[in-house]
Symmetry: none
Subunit: 413 residues, 2 copies
């Protein structure tokens, strides 16, 4: 009889790379000592992954939608709703969300600092959130949360909204805050609301005591909100709708938590999971094992440290992040290896020598105790082409994982 | 000039497997001695086949539609029409068909035996068919045929029918025969007809002399029909429509004959072809050669024995079924190898250790005397990933076969 397994997706963000001179003309995956990856590729199946499609450079948000089994173009909602969900705001189909910055403007609304000096205390965050609470414009409720430093997220809750509006952040100083413009006719209401919100934020923030105190500390005032990444939360089926599964996300970065919540995963917080090289890998392993042992059918584990190192061009740190992830996985396999089907890969390539997302496919391996082995014995960009998976697409990963795990109904009889 | 060849598709049902401890950690294909498969893979091209798609477990019916070049979801008609066609009943687009059981009920229509004792003589089959002949309900004609033991098939011929109705077989004893219910509004007429048919079958069968005779032999009466696998015959183009080819099916199992007839193949009966390990492989070879030499452009040969062994977990018998199929193919190649393009594969994986269909891809090879060889020299799940075909889909097989055989028009000039 078909047994059920827990499907596990382990993503090392920005994993894919090219040969790096500093690493003796190896890729970071080749340079890293990864006994667990090597053992699981030896017993499992390896291949290359075009997360969106051949030649297409994936953004992290669209990449994750594809890896969760969704059409990354049709289901893409913009960054705003994912960041808002990741920051803990409520967002539902029809709502429009944004990423926001606290910034500094003069009396003419000209920007003097796009990040309002970057430095914010938790107390300042609380006071700024209070100042922006309870706003309702033309029947649309505004939800705001401050996140890290000057950053935050905003959700417009109401009907008749559209995400097709331009942003208000001009991305330079010395110019006025941009007016949001409708990019389609039915977005005019939303653009008007955003422009009213901008003026209302200025009115509510400019005279706050904390801005006087910031001036005393030599910091520019947080007296305006800049909005970008507009997107409308789409009405898409959840993983529960699609596959009847209960799923969990274990991630440090809010975008990944948000993307996972957008498709119906529950966020399982881990103490010390930071999204940096100093994230607590032991705690991530322990919480992953706990989730796999409990009644989750699918567990998504996201490691951000590989991408940070890639963007910084820090080869040693990328190798270290990979090795620590390998060590973390060894704990998971030792504890619950018999009850899982796992895929290990990245969401895109961020070559160290470029420091930005590139279209190179990413290596991927699948492993479970029952899977047919192929002849690949190491996990790397240069070994992966010899594997039994050949080249797959991001959108194939979810049905493959859930198919082997026993959660996809047979087609036909 | 492009010569024309006869395209041959040889399916070993449920062929795909995993490494099996009992076979020295080999798959059944690796364990089997198959000089013909080895020779043809050496000279031909090998790869992996996702019959429906990555991670999707194929049912046999949907799998065969894909292998015949049809979208297995859009063209899927349910099991009923395929079984009915396979059993020799007339069925045409719009008709609704079922698989049926003769069963035993008491006076309250409660089921006492779902298979009416399983044992039926040919004479009983004839009498039961007579008793159920000439039925017309609300302008819809009912066609019935008894097949093997208690099994049979039913076609409702008429207009305004729908296959979206629930079955009447409760799959347990001690409960009443289920009423069929409409699963969509336009199916209400069909559900009513089915429920009238159930009562009419009881009235016509309960007092038959054969049921008194069965009682004397200690057998329960065949006094009711249970219906399941409802499906509506869809209006799809035939292989003749799609490719202008004349095609034949050589199969023992009625489902496979039915699926082939559904797309327009002619059934060519073979004496002693049973769908078990004792099927007459020599006669299948002889009839295949005869068909290839005659004016068929496409010949589909189906061997069921591999799947039976897989579902039974019988490793030795699966190996034997593969070896006998290899021997059969050697006769075909010796006789008519020069005039064919052949693909050899399975319709799905049924690993011996699971005993059910699983999503693992199936190995496939193509061979003709003119085909470019790749480096694979054996036919197995573990060798196939190295082949020139990489990974293909079920729906690719027909155009590839017919393309090489010379039956697909160039696109463009």
């Amino acid at each position: 009889m078909t047994e059920k397994y827990t499907a596990v997706l382990l993503i090392m963000d920005g994993l894919g790379d090219r040969v790096v001179k500093e690493l003796g003309n190896k890729t970071p995956l080749q340079a890293a000592k990864c006994p667990t990856f090597d053992r699981l590729t030896t017993d499992g199946q390896t291949g290359l992954l075009n997360v969106i499609g051949p030649g297409i450079t994936p953004g992290s948000d669209a990449a994750h939608l594809a890896l969760f089994g969704y059409d990354p173009v049709a289901c893409y909602a913009g960054r705003g709703p994912l960041e808002a969900l990741g920051a803990g705001l409520p967002s539902k189909p029809g709502d429009v969300a944004f990423r926001s910055n606290f910034a500094s403007v003069d009396d003419e609304m000209k920007i003097t600092d796009r990040r309002a000096g970057r430095i914010f205390t938790a107390e300042e965050h609380r006071i700024l959130e209070d100042a922006l609470s309870g706003i309702e414009i033309d029947g649309v409720k505004v939800h705001f949360v401050a996140t890290v430093e000057h950053r935050g997220a905003i959700v417009l809750e109401g009907s008749g909204l559209s995400g097709e509006i331009s942003e208000t952040d001009p991305h330079e100083t010395g110019v006025k805050v941009w007016e949001s413009e409708a990019l389609e006719q039915r977005a005019e209401k939303t653009a008007k609301i955003v422009n009213k919100l901008t003026r209302m934020a200025f009115e509510r923030l400019k005279d706050l005591d904390i801005n006087k105190a910031r001036a005393d500390r030599g910091l520019p005032p947080a007296n305006i909100l800049l909005l970008r990444g507009a997107g409308q939360h789409k009405d898409i089926p959840t993983l529960q709708d699609n596959y009847g599964i209960k799923s969990a996300v274990i991630a440090g970065g809010s975008l990944y938590i948000g993307a996972a919540k957008y498709v119906g995963m529950e966020h399982v917080p881990v103490e010390g999971q930071t999204g940096t090289i100093d994230t607590n890998f032991d705690n991530i392993a322990a919480k992953s094992i706990e989730c796999i042992k409990s009644n989750y059918n699918y567990v998504f584990i996201h490691i951000k440290a590989t991408d940070n190192a890639s963007h910084d061009g820090n080869a040693k740190e990328k190798v270290l992040a990979i090795e620590r992830t390998d060590g973390m996985l060894s704990k998971i396999i030792d504890a619950v290896g018999d009850s899982i089907v796992i895929a290990v890969t990245g969401d895109h390539s961020t070559p160290l020598d470029v420091g930005e997302h590139q279209p190179d496919p990413v290596p991927i391996f699948f492993w479970s105790k029952f899977m047919r082995p192929d002849k690949v014995k190491a996990f790397s960009e240069l070994d992966a082409p010899d594997g039994a998976l050949h080249t797959i697409r991001g959108i194939d990963v979810m049905p493959m994982l859930l198919g082997y795990a026993g959660y996809i109904e047979k087609i036909g009889a």
